[in-house]
Symmetry: C2
Subunit: 265 residues, 2 copies
C-alpha cells in the first residue's frame, strides 16, 4: 500500500469514529506495511489536522494502545457559526406565543447538529464523560451528535414510564414554566455503572429540568460533570444548576424578534 | 501545501459533512494550489475509498459543482455488524413484559447509530430524499444519524402538540398495540416545501405508526419515498405500509429470548 493511500485510509478510519482507538499494530499486519511507516503517517496526519485546527490526534499507550482523533472546530469557523445562528434565531418571525423562540428547524439541521456536537465535546474533553444524558424530545438530536464526538452512549430520560425501557427509576419535580408537578423516568439499564454523565439539552430558562435530571442521576449514583445547552436565557441569571455551558444566550424576546447572542467568543 | 497535507485535508473535509459539495475552485484559491493538482488528489481519494468499500466520491457539474463523499460500509463489516446486533438482541435477558425486546442501549450506542445511518442512507441513495421524518422518541437517534449521512434535515413528529413547534398539522390514528386512538402532530415549518421524505423509526410490528406518518405527510403534500426501521417483526407478514426496509427481523419472542436475525444479507 502506498503512502498516499495509507494517509487517506488512516484519516478516514479516525474520522468515522471520533475518539475510537485504532491499533497501529493490527493495521500494519492487515495492510502488510511496517508499523514504523504507519507511525510516520500518523505524525503527518497529526500535524496537518493540528495546523488546520480541525482536531487532535491522540496516542494511547499500554494494552489499549492506538491512535484516535478528538474532533475540533477552527476558531474562525466557530465564530462564524455562532454569529450566523444568533442572527437566524433573532429573526422576527420566530417568536411564538408565550415568547418561545422557534428552533426546531435549526435543531434538525445536520451541519448545526454536528458542529454543536463538536463544540460541546471540545468543552468537556478533559472530563472523562462516559454517558450523555438528555430529556425527550428536543434535546435528543443534540445529544446524539455530542455522544458521537465523545464516543459514549446516550441515555434518554422519558417524561413517562415506558414498558420498552424495562425497570426504571422515576422522580418528580416542579416544572419551571408551568409550575406543575412532572414525572421523569430513566431505565436502569440505560446507564453505565460508575456513570460520569454530561447532561445535554436544547434550552434552559431557570434550569428546573436540568436540576431534576441531576437529582434523578443521584439515584443512579452517577457523577454529573456538567450541563450543556444550545441556548439559555439571560434571565434569571442564577440557574438551578451550579455549572452550565451554553452556546447561545437569548436576552429579550418581543414581537420584533428575540435578541440572541453567542455566549462563547 | 504539499500533496500529503492536501490528501489529509480533503479527506477530512469530505468526511466531516457527507454529501456536502466542496468547491475545488474555492479550495485551490484558498490553499494557493493549482486546481489540476486538487483534481488529481480527488482521483486518488476516490480510488482509495472505492477500493476500501468505504463510500463513493461524487463529482457534481455545473454551478453547484464540486466533490462530495457518499458514505459507505464495506460488505464484510455490514455482515459482522448485523450478525453481532442480532446475537446481542437475542440474549434471554432482553425480553420485557408484553414480549418487547429491550433495545435502548443499542439505540444509544454511537457506533451502532452511525453504522445504521450509513446503511439506511446507502439504501435510499438514489431517492432524492430531502427530509428524514421520525416519531418521538426512540427513532430520533437513528433519524439523526441517517440525516447526517444523507445531508438533509430531520423533522420530528410529536405525540402531542407543543407550543414550541408553532403552527402544526395534527392527525389521529389507532395504535396497533394498544388499539387506542392516538394523536400525531408535525410543525408546518419543520417540513421543506416539495418534501421528499424518508420515514425512519426503531421498530415496526403491523406498521400502524408508519402508516399514520404517511397519512400525516399527505397533509403536507409530501412524497414519501420509503420507511426504514431498525427492527421489524416477521408477523404479520403484511404491514400497513407498502414498502419498508428493515435491518433486523424478530421471529419469535419467548422467555428464553427473542430470535432476531439480520434481514439484509
Amino acid at each position: 500500500m502506498q503512502r498516499a493511500e495509507r494517509l487517506i485510509r488512516l484519516t478516514q478510519l479516525m474520522m468515522e469514529r471520533p475518539l475510537h482507538a485504532i491499533s497501529l499494530a493490527s493495521l500494519a499486519e492487515q495492510w502488510g506495511v511496517a508499523k514504523s511507516s504507519l507511525s510516520e503517517d500518523v505524525a503527518t496526519i497529526r500535524q496537518t489536522i493540528a495546523d488546520a485546527e480541525r482536531g487532535t490526534v491522540e496516542t494511547l499507550v499500554g494494552v489499549q494502545g492506538g491512535v484516535r482523533l478528538r474532533s475540533g472546530v477552527p476558531t474562525d469557523e466557530r465564530v462564524t457559526f455562532l454569529n450566523n445562528l444568533a442572527r437566524t434565531l433573532s429573526e422576527p418571525g420566530r417568536v411564538l406565543p408565550g415568547d418561545f423562540v422557534y428552533m426546531s428547524d435549526v435543531l434538525g439541521d445536520p451541519y448545526v447538529l454536528d458542529t454543536v456536537g463538536r463544540l460541546v465535546a471540545m468543552q468537556f474533553a478533559d472530563k472523562a464523560v462516559n454517558v450523555v444524558v438528555t430529556v425527550e424530545t428536543k434535546g435528543i438530536t443534540l445529544a446524539t451528535a455530542t455522544a458521537r464526538h465523545l464516543n459514549v452512549p446516550i441515555a434518554i430520560v422519558r417524561r413517562d414510564q415506558r414498558v420498552t425501557e424495562g425497570a426504571a427509576i422515576s422522580t418528580h419535580y416542579v416544572s419551571g414554566s408551568t409550575r406543575r408537578i412532572q414525572t421523569m423516568s430513566l431505565g436502569k439499564r440505560a446507564m453505565p455503572s460508575e456513570a460520569c454523565a454530561l447532561i445535554v439539552d436544547d434550552f434552559m430558562r431557570a434550569g428546573a429540568t436540568a436540576r431534576a435530571v441531576v437529582d434523578l442521576l443521584k439515584e443512579f449514583s452517577a457523577e454529573v460533570v456538567g450541563t450543556a445547552v444550545f441556548m439559555a436565557t439571560s434571565q434569571p441569571t442564577t440557574k438551578m444548576v451550579n455549572d452550565y455551558f451554553t452556546l447561545l444566550r437569548v436576552h429579550e424576546v418581543s414581537e420584533h424578534g428575540a435578541n440572541v447572542q453567542p455566549a462563547l467568543t
